[in-house]
Structure formats: C-alpha cells, structure tokens
C-alpha cells in the first residue's frame, strides 16, 4: 500500500526546488543560532574532553 501511495505522488518536478529551499533554510537558521551562542559556553564546551573529574582516584594515571 505504501508503495502504491508513493508511486502516485505528483509534483516530482518541484522536488529539486523544495530540497534547495530546505537546505538554505536549515543552513541559514543554523548559522544564526551558532553566532548568537555565548562565548563562555563555547569555551567551556571546547575544553570538555580535557575536563577530568578533579578527585580521580587513579591519580597516578596519565590522563590529561
């Protein structure tokens, strides 16, 4: 049934335009959002892999 529905969808010629619009919309939205993020948060996250638990018991280990 699903195949039958899919097979009879019209408007195939618009798919290219729809996809391009979607792309532009998503991409621009993402850029706006990214450039409005707070610097302090970005800096905190950038160092996340380095952020080890302070009281690590295996303190002789070489984790950064």
């Amino acid at each position: 049934m699903i195949k039958s529905i899919l097979t009879h969808i019209g408007g195939i010629e618009h798919y290219g335009i729809i996809s391009m619009c979607l792309f532009v919309f998503v991409f621009v939205g993402m850029l706006i959002w990214v450039f409005t993020m707070k610097k302090s948060h970005l800096n905190h996250m950038a160092a996340a892999p380095l952020d080890q638990p302070p009281q690590e018991l295996n303190s002789n280990k070489t984790h950064a």
Binding site: K3, L6, T7, I9, I12, E13, Y15, G16, I18, S19, L22, F23, V26, F27, M30, L31, W33, V34, F35, T36, M37, K38, H41, L42, N43, H44, M45, A46, A47, A48, P49, L50, Q52, P53, P54, Q55, E56, L57, N58, N60, K61, T62, H63, A64
Partner: protein, 720 residues
C-alpha cells in the same frame, strides 16, 4: 547545588574492542594484500572457489569497514562516551552483547563470503540471517549509547556525542532499508527492489555508509582524542557545531553521485552533484578545526607519534573530502568512474583517515588502559613512517592506473575507431601499477604488525585497570531549568536532539527515495524484455556467488567511446527483472551488459576453464569448478517462488511444473552449442551451462524489440 558521586568506568569492554580492532586490522589489510597480488599474479587465486578475487574482495572490504573500523568505532565510543558523560555505560550486559554479537557477525562474514553466500550489493553483501543479527546488535548498541547519555552527570553533550548519535540512528536506517529482501533459502535472498530502484537504494546506502560509518563516528573520535592527545581544547567549538549540522544535513543528499550518466532522472544526478560539491565546506571546516587545535602544540607533534598519526589522518581526510566532490562532478566522473581512480580515492580515506586515526587512538589508549608508558615510541615512529610511505605507494600508482585506463578507454584514432579496441590492452598496461600498489599494501601490513608487537609489549609491561574508579562533583540543576541559549536546552534533552538529528538526515533521503518509486512509471516500456529463464536464473545466481560484479559492470554509459566498444547504451527498462541490480562500480574487466551473443558458447567454456587460453595476458581467475559442479536444481523452486514475491511475473505453479523441464531443455541446447565448438566432454547439468545461458542472454532482449522510446534524460550525453 553539587553532590560528589563515586562510580567506575568500564575499561574491560574498551580493551576487548581495542584488541579486536588491532587484530581485524591485520586480517582486513592482509586480505586486501592478497587480492592486490591476485591482480598481477592470477595463480594466487589458488584455483579454489573460496580464494578467488571475486569472493575475497568483499571479505576484504567487510573486514576493513565493519571489523577493523567498526571495532575501532566501538573502542573509541565506549571509552570517550563514559568520560564525556561522566557515567559508566548504561548496561554492561548490552556492552558485552554488542562486543560478542558484532564480532560473531564478522566471523559469520568471514565464513559465508568465501563460501559465495552473498547478496552482491557492495558493503551489504551479507545474507539475510546475518542482516537480522546486525540490526539486533546495532539496536543494542544504540540503546546502550542513548541510555548512557540519558543518565549522564555532565549537563551538556559535547559535539563528539552528537556525531555518535547521528551514526547510530542513520546506520540503522540505512541498513534496514537497503537490506529489504525476500529469502529463497537459508543463505539466499533477492532484493525487493529491482534494477534502477535497487541501484538507487544501494548507493543511497553505500554513500551514506561511508558518511555515517567511516566518517561521522571518526569525526566524533577526532573531536575527543585530538584534544586529549594534544592537551589543547578544540580550536573552535562554534565551528564544530556548524561542521556537525552541515555535514549530516548535506551528506545524505549526495548518494546519486555514484550513478552519474545512468538512467537516474537528471535532476537527481544534478542534485547529488551539487550537494557533493557543497560537502567541501563542512568537511574542510572540520579538517581545519582539527589542525588548528594543534596551534601551539606543534612541538608535541614532532615528539609524539600519536599526534603524527592524527595529523596525517586529518590531512588524508582533507584530501579525500576535496577529491570526493571533484569526482562527483559529472565531467570528471565520466573519466574516473569504473577505474582505479576510485580505488585510490577510497584508500586515501581508509588507509589514511580511518587507519591512521585508529592507530593514533590505540597508541594513546593502551598505555592508559594498562597504566604504563608505551613500550617503544621509536617503534611507533617506524610504524608512522612505514605507514605513510605505504599510503603513497598505494595511492600514487592507483591514480596513474586510473587516469591511464580512463583515457585509454576513450581514445579514438584519426579514422574514428577506438585506439585500444581490445579491452585487455588497457589492462595489461596497468599491471606494473598493480605491482607497485602491492608494495604499498605490504608496507602497510608490516606497519600493523609492528603496532601489534608494540601494543602487546605495552600490555605485558603494565597492569590493566578493568574498573576505573572516579569521583565526580555533580551539578544537580536540571539542564531544562537552566536559563540559557535554546540550543543548550536542546543538548540537555538527548531524545529531542536525537529526533531532530534523525529528521535532518532523513529529509535528504526521503526526497530522493520517493522519486525512486516513481521512476518505475518513468521507465520506457520495452515489450521484449522478459524474465530470465530458469537456467538463466541459476546462472545469474552463480554470477552473484562468484562475485563477478566486483570486476565487471553491466551499465554501458551513453558515451560514444562506450557504445563503440560495447554496443547500445543501457536502458533503464532492461533491468526491471534484475533482483538485485548488477551494474557494478569497477571495470577491472570489460562491461558485460551486451556480452550476450558476442562469443560462441564454447568460448565461454574455455574462458572459464582458463581465461588465458582465450585471452592471453588476462588477469581473470580461472573457474574450473564450474565445469564439474552441478546446478542446484533442487533450489530452483524456492528461487522462482521468491522472485515472484519480489515482483517477477512467473506464472503461479511454474516452479513446480514446466520450470525444471525448460531448464533441462535449455541446458541441452547449450550442450549442443558447445559441441559445435568441439567441446564434447561437457558434463550435463554442470554450472557452466547455466552461467553460459545467463551470459548469452545479457543485453539481448532489446535486439528483438520494436523501436522503443529512447527519450531518456541521458540521451544528450551521447554527443559527448
């Protein structure tokens, strides 16, 4: 408000995956070396069915992708996820189910592929029971991943985790939709899609398997292990966010670039090409983000082999992700497709990006898992230089080989004839390049052996910490309550994040897949194209079993250089009964779509027994067992029945009635054909009869046809 909590990281499962990664790395590359040598030394096919190129090549690709890189992905994720979430894995039972399940699947692949049990769809060759097992294990991994993220003690999800989530979700989708097939026995199935639809789904899968199995999880690992190894925070977290969303959103659209100049609608080809070119931006954003993370740490790069491996890995990523979009441009693809250029491209990625990042991770991880220092930094440096040379020796000859062959295929003399009309002439020129490539492969394997020794000695010298105890000060403020940027809220809600990431990756797929079903209506009807006869079905299954598709395409592109060489270009309507499609992606041998009727039956008999007897200098393996093994006629009924279920219009009851009789009659006719060619000792019911029947049928249907509507989108390309 903060509380201090004590818990343990699970290092045991990380160690198990790490050991599996190292061992499968050796197995996968050694298999690659074997098939590389077979291409200039056909005797290395060993004259047994189980060791021929066609069967070992998928073993190599599966071993490298799913065994080596797959275990590498799990190693890195299981290690980094626990630390980034400040939590033990959600379930130890699921962790171990993931480990044993995944590696059992790999063992199953290593057994079934040499036995010729294959669907023939690239990187999805495993048969249906194994496909189900893959889905089950992958779901277990995804539950474990999301469960750990949900119970994390860290408020925000670091970007590496986003890459892991995108990987888990997308691979599940790709695997399930590409593996829809109807069983015709325990280890035989037919794809539910046929011809062009099967090709589109397969390359939507194939392209995105590269994206979401070989790229996104490794980018996650890069974002974790690069700061770790260099001691530097990531250069720009903002850039990493753009990298993530842009990459997962764009990648999924680019699949059609594998099908340029085929019968795919032109808009889809152009869309695939445009998005492929756009991919340069996020890929290079990620590359630069990685390399710039090393700002101020380049002195460490000189000292530390781990960082050296990472720098070359990133560089290889950059090269492969620039080259990929260029190869997706139609005019470049016209030259590169089906040649060794593609092989060079994928090996820049596999050997450089995946291989070197995995080695870096293992060299960094083993001393930490065993609480000691690396056994020998010098040995690791040797590995680095041998490995780098190996990549050069592999990739450069393949570029030379690919471009040489691509140009030779298209070369016309002043009289308007093909300069190299005999395909074999273009192959023989490449043999020196194949030998050089094997030197590169050998060096790469030697490097891995050095690494295994180094890691083993490191493990022996240290003491393994299975459960690593840690105490963490936990901020108990709910992320959802924290007032801040809405994306920070989004990160705090992993389920919502997962849903949005899924939508991002699905959109491209849906918009391209829906028309795939529509394509069926756009296929110009070719009334003379009929289903394969029972004997041809059995022959086609032998063609699939022996992996012929690994070296022979069945898709003549609409170029004069191809129609002169092979005949009329391939029409989409000719493949409507092809479950699965067998268009192929590489021409180590010539295209076979119009091979039907080109040679007498006896030629095929002699050629399969010893290719060098009919084609001196050929590098094709011999298939002498086809002359003695008998056709599995008792499997015919199940196969015809399964083919009917996927849409081939065999009459109901045909398999129990006339099918066997017709098979025997056609086999007798082939026997007569062989006798005409002075082959009187052919065995009745031998497999060569079925294969010959199939090959003689290929591409002949339209020759019987009334004029067809050739108003295809690709006709314009004929003028090229």
């Amino acid at each position: 408000m903060t509380n201090v909590e004590t818990f343990k990281y699970d290092n045991r499962v990380v160690r198990a995956f790490a050991i599996a990664t190292a061992i499968w790395g050796l197995v996968g590359t050694a298999a690659g070396l074997l098939i590389a040598c077979q291409l200039f030394w056909p005797d290395l096919n060993l004259n047994t069915p189980f060791t021929t190129f066609g069967r070992i090549r998928p073993l190599h690709t599966n071993a490298v992708i799913f065994a080596f890189v797959g275990n590498g992905v799990f190693t890195g994720i299981y290690y980094s996820l626990q630390r980034l979430c400040k939590a033990r894995m959600f379930s130890d039972a699921l962790s171990w189910f993931n480990f044993w399940g995944w590696n059992a699947i790999i063992v199953a692949a290593a057994i079934t592929l040499p036995l010729g049990l294959t669907t023939s769809k690239e990187y999805a060759e495993l048969e249906w029971p194994i496909d189900i097992a893959i889905a089950v294990v992958w779901v277990a991994f995804t539950i474990n991943l999301l469960g750990t993220i949900i119970k994390r003690r860290e408020k925000h999800m670091y970007v590496a985790i986003w890459f892991y989530i995108a990987t888990a979700i997308t691979i599940a989708l790709l695997h399930i939709f590409n593996s829809l097939e109807v069983p015709a026995g325990w280890f035989k199935s037919y794809s539910v899609y046929a011809g062009v639809q099967d090709a589109l789904v397969q390359w939507w899968y194939g392209h995105n398997a590269v994206a979401f199995f070989l790229t996104t999880p490794y980018l996650g690992l890069m974002y974790y292990f690069l700061p770790k190894a260099s001691g530097r925070p990531i250069f720009s977290y903002r850039l990493s966010i753009i990298h993530f969303w842009a990459l997962i959103f764009i990648y999924i659209w680019a699949g059609p670039h594998h099908l340029l100049y085929t019968a795919l609608p032109d808009w889809a080809q152009s869309l695939g090409m445009a998005f492929s070119v756009m991919l340069i931006a996020p890929s290079w954003g990620g590359l630069l983000n990685g390399l710039l993370t090393l700002r101020g740490a380049w002195d460490k790069v000189r000292q530390d082999p781990t960082l050296k491996f990472m720098v070359v890995a990133l560089t290889a990523y950059g090269m492969a992700t620039l080259e990929g979009p260029l190869l997706a441009i139609k005019s470049v693809n016209a030259l590169s497709h089906y040649t060794d250029w593609t092989i060079a491209h994928v090996h820049t990625g596999a050997l450089g990006w995946n291989g070197f990042l995995t080695f870096a991770m293992l060299y960094w991880l083993f001393p930490r898992l065993y609480n000691t220092k690396l056994f020998s930094v010098k040995l690791a440096n040797y590995h680095f230089w041998i490995g780098t040379l190996a990549i050069m020796f592999y990739v450069v000859p393949m570029y030379v080989s690919g471009i040489t062959q691509g140009l030779m295929w298209k070369q016309f003399n002043p009289d308007g004839f093909l300069t190299y009309g005999n395909f074999l002439e273009t192959v023989i020129r490449l043999v020196p390049m194949y030998k050089l490539r094997a030197v590169g492969g050998s060096l790469y394997v030697v490097g891995i052996v050095l690494m295994l020794v180094n890691l083993y000695k490191t493990a022996k010298a240290g003491q393994f910490i299975g459960d690593e105890t840690v105490q963490v000060a936990v901020d108990t403020t709910d992320a959802r309550e924290a007032k801040g940027h809405w994306h920070r809220w989004l990160e705090g809600v992993p389920v919502t994040f997962t849903v949005l990431a899924t939508i991002a990756v699905i959109i491209g797929g849906l918009i391209e897949i829906i028309p795939m079903f529509l394509v069926k209506e756009n296929v110009p009807a070719i009334s003379s194209v009929k289903p394969y006869t029972p004997l041809e079905v059995m022959g086609r299954d032998i063609y699939i079993r022996e992996g012929c598709v690994g070296c022979h395409s069945q898709m003549i592109r609409p170029f004069r250089s191809e129609t002169e060489r092979y005949g009329e270009y391939s029409k989409v309507g000719e493949f409507i009964y092809d479950h699965p499609f067998l268009w192929g992606s590489k021409r180590t041998g010539p295209d076979l779509h119009r091979v039907g009727g080109k040679y007498p039956d006896a030629w095929h008999y002699n050629h399969m027994e010893n290719p060098r007897s009919t084609s001196p200098g050929s590098i094709m393996p011999a298939y002498p067992w086809l002359l003695t093994q008998t056709i599995e006629t008792n499997a015919l009924s199940g196969r015809l029945s399964a083919l009917r279920k996927v849409g081939v219009p065999y009459p109901i009851g045909y398999e129990k009635g006339d099918a066997q009789k017709e098979l025997a009659e056609q086999a007798a006719r082939i026997m007569q054909g062989l006798a005409v060619g002075s082959i009187t000792n052919a065995q009745p019911n031998s497999e060569i009869l079925a294969l010959t029947a199939y090959l003689q049928r290929l591409g002949t249907d339209i020759k019987k046809a009334a004029p067809i509507d050739t108003n295809l989108t690709t006709t314009a390309a004929l003028t090229k």
